[in-house]
Amino acid sequence: TQLLEQSPQFLSIQEGENLTVYCNSSSVFSSLQWYRQEPGEGPVLLVTVVTGGEVKKLKRLTFQFGDARKDSSLHITAAQPGDTGLYLCAGGRGGANNLFFGTGTRLTVIP
C-alpha cells in the first residue's frame, strides 16, 4: 500500500492554464517535499514544507502543507511547456531515516 497518494496521475493542459496537483495521506508527516523529474534524469528538489498550514511560493508554483500535516498541494499558475515533467511528493516521518514517495503526477503542457 502507498503511504502517499497523488492525484491526478496524468494531466495534460494547454499553455497558460492553471492546475493543482494533490498529495494525500492518512499519516502525519514531519516534513513534505516536492520534486520534479524530467525524462532520463533523477528527481530534483523544488521545495520543503515543515509547518502545518505553511505556504511557499516559487515563481509560478505555490506549495501548501495541510494544517494536519497529512496532505499537500502544488498549484501552477499560467503553465508553460517547461513545466512538463513528473511531479513527486515525498514525506518524512519521525523515527524513519528514509522518505516516503508518492506515485507521481505526470504533467504535459502543450504549447
Binding site: G42, T48, G92, N97
Partner: protein, 111 residues
C-alpha cells in the same frame, strides 16, 4: 551545489550476470539510498545506509545487496540479474530526514 554521480546512464546486461551500480556523493552526508523506479509504481526503496559499513533493507531488497566501504560511495549489486530487474535505478543522499538529492539515474536493461 550538491552532486550525486552514478557511474552509468545506460546499461544492458544478460540474465545471470553480476551487476554493479556505483554512486558517489560529494557531501559529507551519512544517509544514502538506492531506489528503483517503475511506471505506475513510483520510487521503491531497495536499501539504504546511514554510515560506513552499515546497511538497512528497504521495501524490496530481494535479489540485491549493497556495499558501503567509504562514506562517499554506495554501491548496489545485483547478484544474478533477472529480466524483472529491468528498471531505472536512482541513488540519493539525504540531508537529515528531509531533502533527498538524486543522481541522474541508471537505466538498466536485462536481456
Amino acid at each position: 551545489d550538491v552532486k550525486v554521480t552514478q557511474s552509468s546512464r545506460y546499461l544492458v546486461k544478460r540474465t545471470g550476470e553480476k551487476v554493479f551500480l556505483e554512486c558517489v556523493q560529494d557531501m559529507d552526508h551519512e544517509n544514502m539510498f538506492w531506489y528503483r523506479q517503475d511506471p505506475g509504481l513510483g520510487l521503491r526503496l531497495i536499501y539504504f545506509s546511514y554510515d560506513v559499513k552499515m546497511k538497512e533493507k528497504g521495501d524490496i531488497p530481494e535479489g540485491y545487496s549493497v556495499s558501503r566501504e567509504k562514506k562517499e560511495r554506495f554501491s548496489l549489486i545485483l547478484e544474478s540479474a533477472s529480466t524483472n530487474q529491468t528498471s531505472m535505478y536512482l541513488c540519493a543522499h539525504q540531508r537529515g530526514r528531509t531533502e533527498a538529492f538524486f543522481g541522474q539515474g541508471t537505466r538498466l536493461t536485462v536481456v
